[in-house]
Amino acid sequence: MPVVTRVLLFASYADAFGASQIDVALPSGATVAELLRHVRALAPAHELPAVPLIAVNQAYASSDTVIVAGDEVAIIPPVAGG
């Protein structure tokens, strides 16, 4: 059964996708890398670097992190605080 995961977008990525969040349907057991393949298929994927930073549940995640139902996922543009 596919897991619908909400993906948060910020700053230049929100501008590029024209949205601050998108919903992605993933097969059960999908990883961050698989989620990124779905996201790239959706929209102006050339705006994303080859390996964008991803956060799962408000902590940085690696590409093999498994996404489960209810996770909060975000694609993090290059940070520029301070």
Partner: protein
């Protein structure tokens, strides 16, 4: 110990009071402020935005790391979001400790890590009316305008 994303001006005096204690002999403070020129372009203001919930957690993790490295300090971080004018304080880090070495080291650790990994972004507004997201990782001129090679405040 506190880390917050705020939408109001940062009260520096309050932060220093928050970390002060008779057990501490040294306080250190870092302020990032909006600078009038970045990468050769005249800046008129900066819009800051954040993934606020994660930014607060990440700043909290940085504080925990600083305590583990530098000992029994008191540390507070505030990062402001919204539209800031020239000279406005965008980030403040206050750290106090019994001794000056750890007070200074802890503060510096926090600002360096904050710049590296806390999910906050800024869009510079230029005197010519244009605006651009700042990308500290960009090394070439991107389509649509020059990409900053440095952050817009103190990088």
């Amino acid at each position: 110990m506190r880390a917050a994303i705020v939408e109001r001006p940062i009260d520096v005096t309050a932060l220093l009071a928050e970390v002060a204690s008779p057990a501490h002999g040294a306080s250190s403070l870092f302020l990032g402020t909006v600078r009038d020129v970045n990468d050769g372009r005249a800046v008129s203001g900066i819009e800051y935005t954040a993934y606020a919930a994660m930014a607060e957690r990440e700043m909290g993790r940085i504080i925990d790391e600083a305590l583990a490295r530098f000992g029994d300090a008191t540390i507070v971080i505030e990062h402001r979001v919204g539209t800031l004018a020239l000279g406005d304080v965008s980030v403040a880090i206050a750290a106090a400790h019994a001794h000056r070495g750890p007070a200074l080291d802890a503060m510096r650790y926090c600002i360096e890590e904050l710049k590296r990994r806390v999910p906050v972004w800024k869009r510079e507004r230029y005197a010519d009316g244009t605006r651009e997201w700042v990308d500290p990782t960009a090394t070439t001129v991107a389509a649509g305008g020059p990409a900053g090679t440095e952050g817009g405040t103190d990088a």
